[in-house]
């Protein structure tokens, strides 16, 4: 998914520079055609259809009852007395909690890992492989493993804690255990991706900068703080953006590990949308919910680029 976004950005950057001659040139469009076809088929069309559906009470197995409600589904999300309001905004709040508590460790530990993995020592590639490997698992597998580790009664973690005499912890049945478990699993599963990107960025930093710093008597921390961090800053913007979007799409981990519990406190907005659509068969309302989520995501992404992206240009 990350690469899809990236690809679109490169495409976007390529189009105007190629079309500078003002004359319409079909060449660039031909180049993006293969992507464009899939984009229209699998992204643009579903998006437009989703907007259409959001204007109806829509149940795909009950075509007899499909009234046009206009912005009714959206109004429900803004009306505190509606049935949807509490559940939706509660799940949005949960998602935001996850975004906040996951993004920071996810970016920081990726940077740290990348620095460690960028050193010169034996078996370096083996370690790189080890840290990247979990990322190749599917979300369900990763979450299932997390469930086996953290589940309250038969989990490995509690088995271990019990054996060393620390007593068991209600990881998934109570807070803050549930969030901790979900963040730990997500971190283990996805940190490899961010790490690889950082690693690539680190390799782009000219060695001469470090050498010069060494001559000036800079220690390791100074080199990290005043060379590494600023040099990878543009990549950090990129990673934070990708991470924000990924965190907003939290679904499989709570779905499998906690089912959104305890007391709906780990139910993310995507799960709420899913339940509205495929559990309560209210696809119209679910579509409206996704579009509102999309708009919120868009605002956050734009802000992210505005704030961090701008400061980099100065």
């Amino acid at each position: 998914m990350a690469s899809v976004t990236q690809r679109a950005q490169t495409d976007a950057a390529a189009v105007p520079s190629a079309g500078v001659g003002r004359r319409f040139d079909i060449m660039p469009y031909l180049f993006i055609l293969p992507h464009l076809i899939f984009f229209v088929l699998f992204l643009l069309w579903p998006l437009l259809y989703g907007i259409y559906i959001s204007l109806f009470e829509f149940d795909f197995n009950n075509p007899a009852f499909r009234p046009f409600v206009g912005i009714g589904n959206y109004r429900n999300l803004a009306d505190p007395n509606s049935l949807e309001f509490d559940a939706y905004w509660n799940s949005m709040k949960n998602t935001l909690i996850f975004v906040v508590i996951s993004t920071i460790p996810m970016v920081l530990s990726a940077l740290l890992l990348a620095v460690l993995l960028n050193g010169k020592y034996r078996f370096r590639n083996v370690f790189r492989g080890i840290f990247f490997a979990p990322w190749s698992l599917s979300a369900v597998v990763a979450a299932l493993l997390g469930w086996w580790i953290f589940n309250d009664q038969a989990g490995i973690m509690n088995g271990f804690l019990d054996r060393v005499g620390l007593g068991t912890v209600a990881w998934l049945g109570a807070q803050p255990g549930a969030w901790i478990a979900i963040v730990v699993v997500t971190l283990w599963w996805t940190v490899g991706f961010n790490t690889i990107i950082y690693l690539a960025a680190l390799q782009d930093i000219p060695e001469s900068l470090y050498e010069a710093a060494s001559l000036d008597g800079a220690n390791l921390w100074h080199k990290f703080r005043y060379i590494t961090v600023p040099m990878v800053a543009p990549v950090t913007v990129f990673i934070v953006t990708i991470q924000l979007i990924a965190s907003f799409q939290l679904f499989a981990q709570p779905q499998i590990m906690t089912r959104g519990g305890p007391a709906e406190s780990t139910k993310p907005v995507i799960m709420q949308i899913y339940q509205e659509g495929f559990g309560a068969y209210r696809m119209g309302s679910a579509a409206a919910m996704s579009i509102v989520l999309g708009i919120i995501l868009l605002i956050i992404t734009t802000l992210n680029f505005r704030i961090f992206g701008r400061s980099e240009e100065r």
Partner: protein, 528 residues
């Protein structure tokens, strides 16, 4: 993907850094717009993909979300719904997740082949000769093999060369699969449908009324079932399904503590309030708990049982109004809260803490599902199970039931339909091998009254269950009002101490419940 992203990331960085002001503006605009589209479509795409994901729901539909353990799951209660049963709801094993956790090795000792019970030889009509039909259920848990054994029995004994091909679609996504099958016209000939889902699925056109001539050939009548089960499995006066079993909450008790208290738990009658209190007090000492009541499942069901016992009801008779905020409702929830204060060790208990306490011998009593039988009872374990006590003025319990129904087909084949009818009839009349496995009670009277069932422990302790069970009216989507959007929120809030005003909590939940009923009435046009 990783490599690709790295490459593009590199391209992207220098551009942003080096490009002049004007160029940046140029590249930025379309960039932004495309990004807008991309983000929006990503979100939608994500939702779409997850549609195919592995589970249905927590809150909004009762059954699916509830489904913790494979087949042996609570349904009536949106009670189990998502949020509040984190661990129980988790994947695969459900309530008894551990692989070898005291589960009955399927196919072992208990020999799920109908041993002992003389099968009422399936008399299938000649019209069904040689038919091949499909059957879907969601029993992926430890009771799956018992269901498979029952299907195999039919395949061997039907005498007309009928073959039933069973497909197990694990419960979390079971109803999802059925819904998708409507669209692709691949619905099975027979499907397991939970009792409280009959109306919804009938209204949404997933299942069809069983034709009179098929019903006649099946030979099952009102006399074969307890009245509530027989009438409740009809929708708008038409028969849609035949109940196979009854399942719900039973009382698990610590055998030793029951002895100390000197109460007779296995007399075949429920304990009365006085004896029950004695039992709770006997257990409530030395750091042990009389009756651990958690902040989650199954306290919604517990409330519903007490409500019925105090003479209240969830809905009015035609299912158009919520009535749980009655005096009986307030009494029921007050009773639960007070007992929790007295007997639950003075601290909030996470979901399933009651099960663990019972397992370790630290509790006198818990109310929980029949499906915990393999985990909590048996040789060398401190607990056994029996009927829920009588707290209120009349003896009632709330239950769920697995039923067998016929999904709607685009083109009807009389031969397959005859075979399906014969199959359903055989299954419900020979359900003994099935109930052996999961701890359920057979729905059909003759099986329940058979000496073979009477010998089953602990199931026969709570056989009354089938008669005492009350069900919500068959109104499509009515279960939505029992879920976390309405009733469950009130119960959870009161029993986790977030809410002190019991009447107020029930009233607010009733308000929302009525809105949900109204909304579903518009959608499905009411029921019964």
């Amino acid at each position: 993907m990783g490599i690709h992203a790295v490459v593009t990331a590199k391209n992207f960085i220098p551009k942003a850094q080096t490009s002049k002001e004007r160029v940046t503006v140029h590249t930025r605009k379309p960039h932004l717009w495309l990004a807008i589209l991309m983000v929006l479509s990503l979100v939608l795409a994500a939702c779409g993909q997850q549609g195919g994901g592995q589970t249905t729901t927590g809150g909004t539909t009762p059954t699916t979300g509830a489904a913790p353990a494979g087949g042996t799951t609570p349904t009536t209660g949106a009670a189990a719904a998502g949020g509040t049963t984190p661990t129980a709801a988790a994947p695969a094993g459900g309530v008894t997740p551990g692989i070898g956790e005291g589960t009955v090795a399927p196919g072992a000792a208990t020999a799920p082949t109908g041993a002992g019970q003389q099968p009422t030889a399936a008399e299938c009509p000649d019209t069904a000769q040689g038919a091949q039909i499909t059957y879907w259920n969601g029993f992926s848990g430890e009771d799956g093999p018992f269901m498979t054994a029952l299907v195999n029995n039919f395949n061997k004994q039907n005498g007309k060369g009928i073959t039933v091909k069973q497909t197990i679609q694990p419960f979390p996504e079971y109803y999802n699969k059925l819904n998708a099958a409507v669209a692709s016209n691949t619905l099975p000939d027979v499907a397991q449908i939970h009792f409280d889902q009959i109306a919804t699925n009938a209204a949404r056109g997933l299942i069809r009324p069983i034709p009179q001539e098929v019903q006649d050939a099946m030979g099952l009548t009102a006399e074969d079932y307890p009245p509530a089960l027989w009438q409740g499995s009809q929708f708008k006066g038409q028969r849609y399904a035949y109940p196979l079993d009854v399942h719900g909450l039973v009382m698990y008790y610590n055998k030793q503590m029951a002895q100390q208290a000197g109460v007779n738990v296995t007399g075949g009658e429920p304990l009365n309030n006085e004896d029950y209190e004695k039992l709770l007090q006997a257990g409530n000492q030395g750091g042990k708990m009389g009756w651990p009541i958690t902040g989650g499942f199954p306290n919604n069901w517990m409330f519903q049982i007490l409500l019925a016992q105090y003479g209240g009801s969830l809905f009015n008779e035609d299912g158009t109004q919520v009535t749980w905020n009655s005096e009986a409702g307030v009494r029921a929830l007050t009773y639960l809260r007070d007992q929790q204060k007295k007997y639950s060790g003075n601290k909030p208990l996470p979901v399933d803490a009651d099960i663990v306490a019972m397992e370790k011998g630290n509790a006198a009593v818990i109310w929980n599902g029949t499906w915990l039988k393999p985990r909590l009872t048996g040789e060398g374990k401190p607990a056994s199970s029996t009927l829920i006590p009588q707290i209120g003025d009349q003896y009632k319990i709330i239950a769920g039931s697995h039923t067998l129904a016929m999904p709607k087909q685009k083109t009807e084949d009389p031969k397959r339909m005859a075979a399906a009818g014969c199959f359903i009839s055989f299954m419900v009349s020979n359900s003994l091998p099935w109930v052996q496995g999961g701890g359920h009670v057979p729905a059909v009277n003759s099986v329940r009254q058979s000496p073979q069932f009477q010998q089953l422990q602990p199931q026969s302790n709570y056989a009354q269950f089938a008669e005492a069970a009350v069900f919500p009216p068959q109104v499509p989507g009515i279960g939505d009002a029992l879920g976390p959007d309405a009733l469950e929120a009130a119960i959870v809030n009161v029993l986790t101490g977030k809410e002190q005003d019991i009447k107020g909590a029930l009233d607010r939940a009733a308000d929302r419940g009525n809105k949900i009923l109204e909304r579903n009435r518009q959608r499905y046009g009411g029921g019964q």
